[in-house]
Amino acid sequence: MSWAIIQQSLPMFGKGFVLTLWLSFVGIIGSIIVGLICSLFQYFKVPILHQIASVYVEISRNTPLLIQLFFLYYAFPVIGIKFGAELCGIIGLIFLGGSYMAEGFTGGFNGVSKGQVESGKAIGLSRWQLAKYVVFPQGFSLSVPAMAANIIFLIKETSIFTVIAIPELTNTALDLIGMYYRSNEYLLVLVIGYAIILVPLSIVLTLLERRVRYGAFGN
């Protein structure tokens, strides 16, 4: 283990770290938006769109991100559709994350108790009002644990971007190992890099989850 080696590599890892954060951020925001849209289609049973959303969710959830990326990056250009590597990564992450988020939201909405829905109906709320004042506010809180798990999951999935030559954290480490053969040092920095992002996040999200479970909505 050599400090000098680690120090020398820090600028490169720094870039990878920033890129991992940035791609995760964009991917997560995109996933939440896509997930929300899909879960709304499903909640309101919008004709056609809700079936499309279901098919999308099944395809996305049941195939590996790596193959999704290979497709986007290597196979699509063959039929004339080409995106840059980072765009491919983001599209892939959103394609994957969108379905996980959709399931999370849908689970939350469905988790709102029947009693709540009926109470809302009993005071004459319309379907939209019921969604707005009862189902969505409670459903979002219920979906926080799932969201938390998804966020961590998606950040970790960015490590797979290495296969399409995006110089994020993992790619940086593998590249340095390939050039300078100091796998101990580089892997250590790599693990620490992920820990810096994920450990605090994991703690915050656990606390959030606990609050949702025990606090707010104990009737």
């Binding site: 109906k121 709320l125 319309s126 104990g218």
Partner: protein, 246 residues
């Protein structure tokens, strides 16, 4: 006889394979208090839920204030503003304060002026001795208090008709009285028309004008209250009444 507010004719209801209500016929007059008694599983909740459009029924008609109800979700939504309902599980919205729970109907559904609605709500809360709790969240209230708020929430829409489904069943015994008193006042003082499902026989005796006794999804008897509790028409009702006091 006074004007019929509600009339149910030949109502039939099944859950998938299970036939739960058989040819239900009865009516409720203006200002009348009907209690629905019967053993567990006899269909009391199902019947009362049909009257508010929370269950889909397969046959029969319900006529409310002279108008046959066409059972679409849209129509029911209109009618529910006139038929208040309170459930066993005080289902206040946990994400809203007591006041916002109450205001939701008047301001969002009936589009009432917020200030007016609020002062009305406060008056109602005062009448159930909960005006101090207007800004509390449901989780800060006891079961009895929650149930009283749930009643206020229903009343805030100025319904013509109220449905109560075992509203004290999940309360601690000492909390029961406060809630029942409120319903009693509604019946006797405000002359509200209502259908009450309850297992509290003393309470039923006290407020009911008429008793519908249900068994296995059929109305076995419809008897004026005094008569029912002293000399019910059917043997089944006798057994039922006997079992209710140990």
């Amino acid at each position: 006889m006074a004007e019929k507010v509600l009339q149910v004719e030949h109502l039939e209801k099944s859950y998938q394979k299970k036939h739960v209500l058989h040819d239900i016929n009865f009516s409720v007059a203006q200002g009348e208090v009907v209690t629905l008694l019967g053993p567990s599983g006899s269909g009391k909740s199902t019947l009362i839920r049909c009257l508010n459009g929370l269950e889909v029924y397969q046959k029969g008609t319900i006529t409310f204030e002279g108008q046959k109800i066409i059972p679409t979700e849209k129509n029911w939504q209109q009618i529910r503003q006139k038929i208040g309902m309170v459930f066993q599980s005080y289902d206040l919205f946990p994400n809203l304060t007591v006041m916002d729970n109450i205001l939701l109907g008047p301001t969002k559904v009936q589009k009432k002026d917020k200030a007016t609605a609020r002062s009305e709500a406060l008056a109602l809360l005062k009448s159930v001795e909960l005006d101090d709790y207007a800004n509390a969240y449901p989780r800060e209230l006891s079961g009895g208090q929650k149930q009283r708020v749930a009643i206020v929430r229903a009343l805030a829409l100025h319904p013509d008709f109220m449905l109560f489904d075992e509203v004290t069943a999940s309360l601690d015994p000492e909390m029961v009285r406060g809630v029942l008193t409120i319903i009693e006042n509604l019946a006797n003082r405000d002359n509200m028309t209502m259908i009450v499902v309850t297992h509290e026989m003393n309470f039923a005796k006290q407020i009911a004008d008429r008793v519908l006794f249900l068994q296995d999804g059929r109305i076995l008897e419809q008897t004026p209250s005094e008569q029912f509790f002293t000399a019910p028409q059917t043997d089944r009702a006798k057994v039922f009444l006997d079992s209710m006091d140990f």
